[in-house]
């Protein structure tokens, strides 16, 4: 398994292939439904430096606020990524992201965006909220907490050996497409349906 430091170069990202298991260390940002619409409405210069050459994590965490005003992630697994399909490729291009972390995979538009901009889709294990929260030792800051609420805010976080699988790479490869094709074929076989 490879360790990948964030921020990361396009070259290193292009070297990743579907099926690779990677551990991430460095700074990343969370963002989901409300965040993606917001990021595309206009260019958010205050958030942009936290996205350039890093990754966005589709995650709506459970967060505890400490007495000193700092935050801790209590539970932090990935949310379903496909909801961001209309926006993701554009968000990657506009903010210079090198990757997306989520679950369930994404569609053709994002896959093309990954190839165009030099980025990957990284699959975290859905529901593994404690294993993943343990790999997030520090919350640096938060954007849009009041407006979006805890799950939908954009949290800037430090991660340490955060485990993910490459399921869509920058060369057009998608494990999700492969598995879907195979399972569709098996279904047709089980139901005796033709092609």
């Amino acid at each position: 398994m490879a360790e990948l430091k964030l921020p990361v170069s396009e070259e290193k990202i292009r070297a990743l292939k579907v099926g690779d298991f990677v551990e991430l260390t460095g700074r990343m940002i969370t963002g989901r439904d409300a965040a993606h619409t917001w990021l595309m409405k206009e260019f958010r210069a205050d958030v942009a430096p936290f996205m350039k050459d890093s990754v966005i994590y589709h995650c709506g965490p459970v967060v505890a606020k400490n007495d000193d005003g700092s935050y801790d992630f209590v539970a932090a697994g990935p949310t379903t990524s496909i909801r961001e399909e209309p926006y993701q490729a554009d968000v990657i291009g506009r903010y210079g992201l090198r990757g997306v972390i989520g679950k369930g995979g994404m569609g053709a538009k994002t896959l093309a965006g990954l190839a165009e901009h030099g980025a990957v889709y990284l699959h975290a294990v859905g529901g593994a909220a404690q294993v993943l929260a343990r790999a997030i030792p520090r919350v640096e800051r938060v954007f849009m907490l009041e407006e979006f609420g805890v799950p939908e805010a954009l949290w800037v976080i430090e991660v340490e050996r955060f485990p993910v699988m490459v399921t869509m790479d920058s060369h057009g490869g998608s494990l999700h497409d492969e598995v879907e094709e195979r399972s569709q074929a098996k279904l047709r076989e089980l139901l005796g349906l033709s092609g």
Partner: protein
């Protein structure tokens, strides 16, 4: 019975158990899956991570999954108990459990888009009541996550494309199609709660209620028991695998219930529960004595 603070505290503990302690039957099914998958492959790594996560959550009493879902609750109560008071107790418990971080603030105002902040909202939690002859109250709940809720679906038979007629063979075809449509998006390996018949409302409720059944139980209706076994086997042959990575473990269980229907309607309703199949139960007797149910 009916002392509000007592019930509320019991319900908070019920929610804590549901959110942080995965039931033994689900853990056993996940372990079985891990034994079936090759070590070092993505499916094996995913199941290892899942099982490590289950243990960690239990150890530190923190949510298994950050999407703590909708609390869906079924309460059986004796005659004369105020269901309004019980519902209020449960809502208070949801707010308290959210404050204690057993639940994420998970209720969003659909019109304004703002989060209610305290875990409760219109229709959340969803509490069903049924009166019975016993003198005790029994509360059973699931925490139903949103990712898996999104892949739940309802078919109306006949369905020409699937070659599905209005019989159990048609039901089989619809359910297997639902598994392929879901892929890994509902956090496979999942548990299916299925309802055959009913209307569009009753069927979804009944399909969710199936999720309360132990994974290894046997359906008392023989043809449904056979269907459940076959769907579990064939569902796993589809090769979707944990998280949709491919593999042998796509489903942990299939539970099929039945409701009668209108002559014109034949619904097959599928609720998909993620591997974090969070369910818990408690019985409160007439002296207020609490027994936790497995």
């Amino acid at each position: 019975m009916g002392v509000t603070e007592t019930n509320t505290e019991t319900f908070v503990e019920l929610i804590r158990r549901a959110s942080t302690e995965l039931p033994a039957d689900v853990v056993a099914a996940l372990e079985e899956g891990r034994r079936a998958e090759a070590t070092g492959g993505l499916a094996g790594i995913a199941l290892n991570t899942i099982l490590e996560n289950v243990e960690l959550a239990r150890d530190i009493s923190a949510p298994i999954c950050q999407d703590t879902g909708t609390p869906v609750v079924w309460i059986h109560h004796p005659v004369g108990v105020s269901t309004r008071a019980l519902k209020a107790d449960f809502e208070t418990a949801v707010r308290e459990a959210t404050r204690r971080k057993y639940l994420r603030p998970n209720a969003v105002n659909t019109l304004s888009g703002s989060n209610t902040g305290d875990g409760a909202g219109r229709g959340i939690p969803f509490v069903h009541f049924e009166e019975w002859d016993e003198p005790r109250i029994e509360v059973r709940m699931i925490l139903k996550g949103g990712g898996s809720e999104n892949v739940g679906t309802q078919y109306k038979l006949p369905d020409t494309k699937l070659g599905a007629g209005r019989d159990l063979e048609g039901v089989r075809r619809a359910v297997l199609d639902a598994v392929v449509q879901a892929q890994g998006k509902g956090c496979a390996p999942g548990v299916l709660g299925v309802c055959v018949g009913g209307d569009r409302v009753s069927a979804f409720e009944h399909s969710k209620r199936q999720l309360l059944r132990p994974l290894k139980d046997t359906n008392p209706i023989r043809e449904l028991a056979e269907l459940e076994g076959r769907l579990l086997r064939e569902g796993n042959e589809l090769g979707v695998g944990p998280m949709g990575f491919g593999g042998k473990t796509t489903l942990l269980g299939v539970k099929v219930g039945v409701l009668d229907r209108l002559p014109a309607c034949y619904f097959v309703t599928v609720t998909y529960m993620c591997w974090a199949d969070r369910k818990a139960g408690v019985s409160i007797d007439e002296r207020g004595e609490v027994t936790w149910l497995s």
